[in-house]
Amino acid sequence: MNRPVYLDHAATTPVDPRVAKVMAQCLTAEGEFGNPASASHDFGDAARSRVETARAQVASAVGASPDEVIWTSGATEANNLAIFGIAQYYREHGRHLVTARTEHRAVLDPCRELERRGWRVTYLEPDGGGVIHPDQVAAALKADTVLVSIMHVNNEIGVIQDIAAIGAICAKHGGARLHVDAAQSVGKSAVDFAGLGADLMSLSAHKAYGPKGVGALLVSRRRSASGSGAGSGQRERVQLTALQFGGGQEHGLRAGTVATHQVVGMGLAFELARAAPSSEAEHIARLRERLWRGLAALGGTFRNGDAERSVPHVLNVSFEGVEGESLIAAVRGRLAVSTGSACSSALPEPSYVLRALGRDDILSESSLRFGLGRDTCERDIDTAVAVVTEAVSALRRLAGT
């Protein structure tokens, strides 16, 4: 039986075989299985060496210094550490945060929890293409703003935000630290932590052919001057309050034994992503346009997100005249894609990201996100077009639309 065509690389990617190989070396007795925190024997030294090599690989891939990399269990934990850690540390400076309606729930849910605890949060509305304009951030900043959290690449529509401009605005403010959820970025868009002016950045391994269960929070060691808001003047290095305790690992910010095999996998995955030729992105961009042309021929199709500002790996399309749950059920078995609805219960909820872009509930639900990967080929694209065309056409006939 043929496996479905996998076009859900924005959800996760398969582990690169080279990554899996180096991970395995850190698990068994013949390899570097030691506790990297053990300083009293060679096993610990060997594991620690692998961990530090991985730290350097990750740092190098995203324009950071190795001592700025804090290992976490993934981007969700990194987002939580950044948001709660900043809010707690700077709570005497201010209790206002700025984020966007289109952020991942790993950012929105911590913000909502902070609201319950007494903080105020401004949620910026994107334009119809999913873009947050830097002047919106500037207008939202208040004297007591302590954090701005804006994602780099949107997970549903692939739109890239102008983080450098937002970073400059936060630096000018002085008191507002900038956190960037870059879980979708590595391997899809150039990431330069220092160049973007971010104070904190969340990373994920499994979106870039690394393993699940590992990520990192980049914590800037830079100092900057100026500013007029909370904590202004000579701006100190960004500080965080830790969320968990019990061993003091990762500069005391993330207690717990570092999972050597996981971080080694992330290190190599990021190194491979950095070394990928530019032709790979160009090839994926051509495939995405081939996919869009094929789907657009159906009529009644709407491309979600500003195509000019998107990573080449993501295409999000709404299909008029079909019901979303039936659409995903109709293609299932032949095509692995994500739907524009959150299926946390039996009754799907329309995508809040697409609704924020102005799509109505029906179009938000009847959308598919296609996530292309480095192994996606023309045949996969043509199969996807054929499968979706057949499903949408049949559902429209069935609905009399």
Binding site: E323, A329, A330, C343, I362, A394, L395, R397, L398, G400
Partner: protein
């Protein structure tokens, strides 16, 4: 979302039947139509029923909805053909929920199907067929 084998059987069967051509709406004497729901609300169902001498000779459906909605509508049509007209679904909503393993949150969708069906068969009560005057595109 996972679906029972029966749900998938009728859902995918309905899709296959529509893979190449539009469903043929019923026309002619003794044809009655009932619809309920709204596409804007995410569920809309329409039944055409042809009744001859108190018996359902033919039935068709159109549906905009989830796989359960489409599957149950297809099953209702299949079961009704050849049966005497009566102002109810071939099975109760509760029994249909069991048959198709419907999540409790979706029970309301069967009420829409029931409303569309009973609306169609209720029109059969001695009124002449109106097929020739029916719009050929469904209303919602």
């Amino acid at each position: 979302m996972t679906y029972s084998d029966l749900t998938l059987h009728y859902f995918l069967g309905a899709l296959r039947a529509r893979s190449t051509e539009s469903p043929q709406l019923l026309t002619g004497p003794g044809v009655h139509r009932g619809a309920a729901g709204s596409r804007k609300q995410g569920i809309w169902v329409q039944f055409d029923v042809q009744v001859v001498a108190g018996m359902i000779r033919a039935a068709r459906f159109l549906a905009f909805g989830c796989p359960h909605t489409i599957a149950v509508s297809a099953w209702v049509v299949e079961q009704a053909i050849g049966q005497a007209v009566r102002p109810a679904l071939p099975e109760t909503v509760a029994r249909l929920c069991e048959r198709f393993a419907l999540p409790v949150e979706k029970r309301g969708r069967l009420l829409t199907i029931e409303e569309a069906w009973t609306s169609a068969v209720a029109a059969c009560g001695g009124t002449p067929g109106v097929a020739d005057g029916l719009p050929q595109r469904p209303l919602s």
